[in-house]
Point group: C2
Chain length 339, copies 2
């Protein structure tokens, strides 16, 4: 494999990127790990030997062929253009460039063809959108998606390691003092990560409020779906909710197409969808089933009881893997394959 | 107050019925508590003195004026008709009689008028439907509901005390052994209550599978909504999901009406809805906020981004209180008021 850098190497997604490079048998010609100055100097043991974390702010990107960024939108905006200018292809996991016309937004195995149009930066979609597209993409290709209502069950690791720390803390310490938990009376760690407790609770509010009463997380579902599916007119009704799950984002979706789609047709399309497993109702897929595996799981495929002719289904995927690190590595593979 | 019996007095809902009778200042002329033979003979300390649990199978219903049943559909089918025949008005919390044409299905403060048509049995709706109707009912009255997509986040107490025991067990004991939890390898208590672990997980499968790939819980949302709103043609698309929350059922809903409805109009309707609190986006209502209070909480009211002209919102309520025990007591109050 090429000379690779992982930017944000100490985070939940960066760590998973390292695992996935290893699992997929890659042998980088060079591997560089970068993070904020806080982590610089730490030595990480990798399959390919020990690597010392470099300070992103001072690292020289020369010679890097592929840079996997997962260090937040601010750092991507600040540093990704310089990496691209020095010759690297940046695969960026943040939202910084996703809606940029010059930047392809790729769900590997759904719209791989768009990789060809890059100008040095390729964006990795939002983790909830990613999981949903693994089902919606093939169905759209078959029948033309017209409307989609999508309601999420997003795990705390979507907020990074801090999200997992907050949930573990609330469950372990404050599970014994439910009254304190209800009042939101905890202090450490990450007390300002969520607006309300997440232990024994759900928050119908993932991300920050943006236009029209929808959160930025919900707008991502709308806008990224349209860009990935190349369907600017598709109508998406999003609701993003955080749930007390460590890993695995679930989405309940109802879709209507240009024509009625039967369950038999939907099942045939989804059974052949790459990167996805179609489960029948004898075992409904849950976040725990999806955690740690590459495939997105699809279940509960059924004809709509509401507006006729549509399909309702449930999809769940590991938000750190397909929802982030795996897809970034898959994009890198596409780039290296097509050079 | 009249001579009252609580049937299923030792369960999560029966216990809450006792609390609510007390909180609302009722002084029953007689209070009888009944349960299965397992609990018969136990003495319960109530606000009105000690009461010995009677065995439902052998109890004589003579003289009872109002019987609040929450002992499961089987016991309701077996015993409620005899209670009604002996002169009691039965308020039944099970699904046994809900769709019976001779049985009113009442969400107090939404369709109180239908109480008048009873023939000895009145049904209390499903807890998820109940919470949703507190928002959908007033909006339907204002603008005529045409379609509704409803996706639930249902707490484990909807499965009774066993549900809470299972979640506590999985969190406390198996939270330390995530691998065992993932495999579903626990044994006690209530190991057969849910098909998969609920701790650190969500189950997109509440209830049992019924027709067309929907669960009985989902069909209740469809059929009970139509009956309560007297809107047999309303199109409901239901998805019911269990989440690791102790108390409080949340529902994300998107509604379209006979005409476009603005956020301003919806907010005005919902701000005046009895038994409900409308919260703005400065504090989104969560299950923990709803637990232990009577009002259903409504938030995130917004114009649809998908099909135009509709309203999306979030509603959450205490499934043991408004979702079950409180509404049953409110129905009893309606019956006693109108005698």
């Amino acid at each position: 494999m090429a000379r690779v850098a992982i930017v944000g190497a100490t985070g939940a997604v960066g760590t998973t990127m390292l695992e996935i490079l290893s699992e997929r048998g890659h042998e980088p010609n060079e591997l560089r790990l970068m993070a904020s100055s806080r982590s610089a100097g730490r030595v990480i043991a990798t399959k390919w030997g020990d690597v010392t974390i470099e300070d992103l702010a001072t690292a020289d990107p020369s010679g890097i062929e592929v840079a996997l960024f997962s260090a937040g939108g601010g750092r991507s905006r600040e540093f990704a253009p310089a990496f691209a200018a020095s010759g690297a292809v940046v695969v960026d996991n943040s939202s910084a460039f996703r809606m940029d016309d010059q930047v392809p937004l790729i769900v590997s195995q759904v719209n791989d063809h768009a990789v060809a149009d890059h100008h040095g930066i390729i964006a990795n979609p939002n983790c909830t959108t990613m999981t949903l597209m693994m089902a919606a993409g093939p169905l759209h290709a078959a029948a033309g998606l017209r409307t989609m209502t999508a309601t999420s069950y997003q795990s705390v690791s979507g907020s990074g390691q801090t999200g997992m720390d907050v949930l573990a803390h609330e469950i372990d310490v404050l599970g014994k003092d439910r009254e304190l938990l209800a009042k939101g009376g905890w202090s450490e760690p990450g007390s300002d990560l969520y607006s309300r407790p997440i232990g024994f609770n759900v928050l119908p509010h993932a991300g920050s409020f943006a236009e029209a009463g929808y959160t930025d997380e919900e707008w991502k579902l709308v806008n990224e779906t349209r860009k990935i599916l190349e369907a600017p007119d598709v109508l998406v009704e999003p609701t993003c909710v955080r749930v007390p799950v460590m890993v695995g984002h679930g989405i309940s979706a109802t879709m209507h197409f240009e024509r009625p789609v039967s369950v038999a047709e939907a099942n045939e399309v989804l059974a052949n969808a790459p990167g996805a497993q179609l489960w029948d109702d004898s075992k409904v897929p849950t976040p725990l089933d999806s955690a740690g595996i590459d495939d997105v799981l699809i279940g509960r495929v059924r004809q709509t009881l509401g507006e006729p002719g549509g399909i309702s289904l449930w999809t769940v995927g590991d938000n750190l893997r397909k929802g982030a690190a795996l897809n970034a590595v898959q994009i890198a593979e596409l780039v290296l394959d097509t050079r």
